[in-house]
């Protein structure tokens, strides 16, 4: 039986910690597994150190109820691992082991996640020398033995202008039997930097958590602070945040389709989309001066208004861009040789996607209806978003086609939002944060749901800040997609996910 407490998180809502029962670990794990067996998935799971031991929090998303189940418990140095029964917890438990030295007993894949020193004074679970910074990639990789089996190691430095990560393939000839991904090279210690805040530098660190998702992470952060302060930003600000979020989605999705076309050697779409991506970024720059939306979303509202002639300028430029975008994209999706490369490549089954807890584009391409704008809406999304884009095949084509259809949906959404832009101010002052509380915020960034959670101490300072970028769930999906594929299809599969290294590494 589940003892979890269900809450509907909205702008301006935080839970006083006193309202959350302190379960023992047996009750905690039983409730977690019961919820996940019913219809929930793990959106966030993190620890907070106590003077003695560790407090554990689980945030489970009941998508169709639009509610979140909260669980908390206290643990010591070791817990029975829940990963064997609930695979989507695998990285969360590894994270806990790395940060606080808590050993999840029976974890089938207990390896470091980001290769940093533990956050508290505790014994290193992997027996690495104390006082020395761990070496990234220093772990036991899964290995397939056999006469004709070979191993391919790629990275951390890759061939393109791209972030670093290490990929280890176990191959038989061209065929990949297993891919293991080892990250952590981009780790900047963001969650640690945010504790004790809110600091003046905080918003800038969130805007650069994953620089291509500046609007997504900044919005999640601001929603969280606004929830803890118990106030809602003006409606006009909420609408403009939604517009900016869709512009970010447009730029990235258009760029991704261009990159997919480039990876199968279809150059017209690759070069048109490369240019169009920049044009969408330039629209965001019209709004706030930065192509990535830096400085736009601020606690309490916005740093810039969409005023004067700007709404009209953006609407006009979008119409022209829409014509070019449709032309460029349809060209690629109407070409049989392109489709032949996309279809059936890098397939992830719906069952695997569900077991791994995939989110965003990768989940929607596997037939899973997961979209925070629909299930856990904040701000302007609360008054209606009912068109998540779903494909069922789980292959490169499905991930590409989700993007294509989302591009058209975003264009329609922005037009609608621009037409009905509410009047009024764009910023209201943020009050002090509630003490001893927990707040959770969701934002459907272009890759998928960005989840932020924060605990405050008695004085209203941030005691623990937890960030879950969609890439945290989805890198495992890429590893699954490669099984049985030709290794030469890795770039195409990788591009179809286009995950964030720094969003994962934090």
């Amino acid at each position: 039986m589940s003892l979890s407490k269900l809450f509907r998180f909205r702008h301006g809502f935080a839970v006083p910690l006193a309202e959350l029962p302190q379960l023992d670990y047996a009750q905690f794990s039983e409730s977690l597994l019961a919820d996940v067996a019913a219809d929930a998935r793990v959106a966030c799971y993190f620890g907070r150190p106590l003077p003695k031991g560790l407090e554990l929090y689980a945030i489970l998303a009941h998508d169709w109820k639009g509610e979140l189940a909260l669980l908390r418990t206290k643990v010591d140095h070791s817990i029975p691992s829940l990963t064997p029964q609930c695979p989507q917890l695998h990285l969360f438990e590894r994270e806990l082991a790395e940060q606080y030295g808590v050993r999840p007993e029976g974890h089938p894949w207990l390896k470091p996640v980001r290769f940093h020193k533990s956050w508290i004074d505790t014994a290193d679970l992997w027996g690495r020398p104390p006082g020395v910074h761990p070496i990234p990639g220093d772990m036991e990789f899964y290995r397939v033995e056999g006469e004709e089996v070979h191993e391919v190691a790629v990275g951390p430095v890759h061939a393109g202008v791209i972030e670093p990560g290490h990929f280890r393939f176990q191959c038989h000839g061209e065929e990949v039997m297993h891919l293991e991904i080892s990250l952590g090279y981009q780790h900047r210690g963001i969650e640690q930097l945010l504790s004790g805040g809110p600091h003046p530098a905080g918003i800038y660190q969130l805007e650069t958590t994953a620089g291509d998702t500046s609007i997504g992470h900044a919005t999640a952060y601001c929603q969280l602070l606004e929830s803890l302060a118990g106030n809602e930003p003006p409606v006009r600000a909420q609408a403009i945040r939604a517009i900016a979020l869709e512009l970010e989605r447009l730029a990235n999705h258009v760029g991704d389709i261009g990159a997919l076309a480039g990876d199968v050697g279809f150059l017209p779409t690759a070069s048109f989309c490369g240019r169009l991506r920049g044009d969408y970024l330039n629209l965001t720059a019209e709004l706030c001066g930065s192509r990535f939306g830096r400085g736009l979303v601020r606690p309490g509202g916005l740093g810039f208004d969409l005023d004067g002639a700007l709404p009209q300028t953006i609407a006009d430029r979008l119409s022209a861009l829409e014509r070019d975008t449709r032309g460029a994209i349809d060209l690629c999706f109407d070409t049989p040789s392109v489709l032949a490369r996309f279809e059936g490549t890098g397939t992830v089954s719906t069952d695997d996607a569900e077991a791994l807890g995939l989110v965003g584009v990768a989940a929607r391409a596997c037939g899973l209806v997961r979209d925070a704008r629909l299930h856990h809406p904040f701000g302007a999304w609360e008054e209606g978003f009912d068109t998540p884009v779903i494909e069922v095949d789980g292959d490169v084509f499905a991930r590409g086609n989700v993007r294509r259809r989302e591009i058209y949906a975003s264009l329609a959404l922005i037009k609608k939002l621009l037409k009905r832009l509410p009047e009024g101010p764009v910023r209201s002052p943020l009050g002090p944060l509630a003490g001893d509380s927990l707040a959770v915020s969701f934002c459907e960034g272009w890759r998928g749901e960005v989840v932020h959670a924060a605990l405050t101490d008695a004085t209203g300072r941030i005691a623990r800040y937890k960030i879950v970028d969609p890439s945290f769930h989805n890198w495992s999906g890429l590893a699954m997609a490669l099984r049985g594929q030709q290794i030469s299809d890795f770039p195409l599969c990788n591009k179809s996910f286009n995950l964030s290294y720094c969003g994962f590494d934090l």
Partner: protein
């Protein structure tokens, strides 16, 4: 095939005329800061302490800004105090770390390479890019230089896949602990003589992560830098302007 050709005609020619024609940047774009002079000492003091990234300091009785640390924040406390304002000037690259410290209206932009280096690289410069903790904004806006709008190739500049093929390294990110050795290895793999370019506030001075214990506050003394490109992230035209100055094309 006909559809492709028709679409190609419709999309038209989009390559910019840069550097012959200056680019039109958005009105709200924040470029080279202009410092207000002779304000009250308290105003300057508030501006200096207000910057979360220590980009401002005092130079005698006047204000000094370090463009290597400045993120060109939209809500810069010094702007609110009237101590500085951002112009629309995207030209920001410099050759020396000291040149990034701006005290008056004269900002010394990047110099061209010396005769010998120009002879080697002036018409063909191949760069290896390494992201050492970059957030993918700097990387994305460098990738953009390869698109048909900027068409980096027409200047003989290209990003290559291997350090062995490169004439220099372009670094982004604050140099995380976990990337330091990979960065140094990549640099070592480039044949001599070689260039180092630090692009973005992170690579120059740590950017938003200057106080992180997991990062090195940028390249610092790890590598000898030939070109600094400020910004968070630098606008593609800022980066292109810097590269062309280095090659003596502007």
């Amino acid at each position: 095939m006909l559809t492709i050709i028709r679409e190609r005609m419709r999309q038209g020619h989009r390559t910019s005329k840069f550097p012959k024609v200056a680019p039109q940047l958005p009105e709200r774009f924040r470029g080279l800061p202009l410092l207000a002079r002779d304000l009250a000492p308290q105003t300057y003091e508030a501006a200096v302490t207000g910057c979360p990234f220590a980009a401002l300091s005092m130079n005698g009785e006047q204000l000094r800004i370090d463009l290597g640390r400045c993120l060109f924040c939209a809500d810069c406390p010094a702007v609110e105090l009237g101590a500085l304002s951002f112009s629309n000037d995207y030209r920001l690259s410099a050759s020396r770390r000291d040149d990034l410290r701006l005290t008056d209206a004269t900002y010394r932009l990047a110099d061209k390479l010396n005769e010998r280096m120009l002879k080697l690289f002036g018409r063909s410069l191949k760069l290896r890019q390494v992201s050492a903790g970059g957030c993918n904004a700097c990387e994305a806006d460098l990738n953009v230089l390869g698109t048909l709008v900027f068409d980096l190739g027409r200047f003989g500049i290209q990003f290559v896949a291997s350090p062995r093929h490169a004439d220099g390294i372009l670094v982004t990110g604050p140099v995380t602990e976990n990337m330091q050795s990979a960065l140094l290895d990549t640099y070592a793999a480039i044949p001599e003589p070689k260039l180092v370019i630090a692009s973005g506030a992170c690579a120059i001075g740590g950017g938003p992560f200057c106080s992180s214990t997991e990062a090195h506050q940028g390249i610092g003394d790890l590598l000898p830098v030939d070109l600094y490109i400020p910004g968070c992230p630098p606008h593609p035209y800022t980066a292109l302007d810097g590269l062309l100055r280095l090659l003596g094309r502007i």
